[in-house]
């Protein structure tokens, strides 16, 4: 599994500053734009799509993990972000617990040369396998740098 390679350092954060769900999603989208993975012209659309997705059903899947993920017009490859909130965010999660670990996935609406839609379920399954691992959840919240976070993703990618 090489999905860990889709997480670029500049799009990740080991210490989100946000105090709530809306701020967190905005902060993460802004990181992705600033990191160069998403054109600034798509910033508002990406954020709207993520917020709308939360309205349909919370992406707080339990165990302090959220997996906000949407299709987005205007991108031709998947953009992934891993972020940690030290304080915890109210995400209306299925188990009522706050969210500390966020996997954000923006994927193209259709197949492109760089994107195979059939990989989506496998990617989400890989993310879920990481999220359900108590060791991963514990270790990622103990990391101090983005390099450590991504190193952990790579190390545990075979779960």
């Amino acid at each position: 599994m090489t999905f860990w390679k889709e997480f670029k350092s500049k799009s990740c954060s080991s210490r989100l500053k946000a105090a709530d769900k809306e701020q967190a999603l905005a902060e993460i989208v802004d990181l992705i734009v600033k990191g160069g993975e998403l054109d600034s012209s798509l910033r508002d659309e990406a954020l709207s799509a993520l917020l709308a997705r939360e309205q349909m059903a919370s992406t707080g899947v339990g165990m302090n993990v959220a997996i906000p993920h949407v299709k987005l017009k205007g991108i031709d490859k998947v953009i992934c972000s891993l972020c940690v909130s030290r304080t915890g965010l109210d995400w209306n999660s299925i188990d009522g617990d706050p969210v500390n670990i966020l996997f954000v996935v923006l994927r193209p609406e259709r197949a492109t040369d760089s994107h195979d839609p059939e990989e989506h379920i496998e990617r989400m399954s890989w993310i879920a396998r990481l999220g359900r691992e108590a060791d991963f959840r514990r270790f990622v919240q103990q990391t101090n740098t983005k390099a450590e976070m991504l190193g952990l993703l790579k190390e545990m990618s075979a779960v």
Binding site: A57, S58, I67, I94, I121, R129
Partner: protein, 91 residues
């Protein structure tokens, strides 16, 4: 009491992705019974979204649902209906 088993085929084109997993667990939480769901060789706790997402269940896959508890039959009936309805997805 005792275990009951049903099979259900995934009919929605995008398979058992995050939103259907959420729909399953939201439904299951209305019941008391223990639920295990198997896809191929992989069996998971049906009350956990993260566990369900690891099944990588695609359209056409047949899930084996096993419930144990007083309301097992009611749970399985409701769950198989949800799956047959494609998790009531609009996209």
């Amino acid at each position: 009491m005792g275990g009951h088993e049903q099979r259900a085929k995934i009919v929605n084109p995008e398979g058992l992705h995050a939103r259907p997993c959420h729909a399953v667990v939201s439904l299951v939480r209305e019941y008391e019974s223990v639920l295990r769901i198997r896809n191929g060789a992989t069996e998971v706790n049906g009350r956990s979204i993260l566990e369900l997402m690891t099944l990588s269940a695609a359209c056409g896959d047949e899930l084996v649902l096993r419930a144990e508890g007083e309301d097992a039959l009611a749970l399985l009936e409701a769950l198989t209906a949800l799956i047959a309805a494609g998790f009531i997805e609009n996209d």
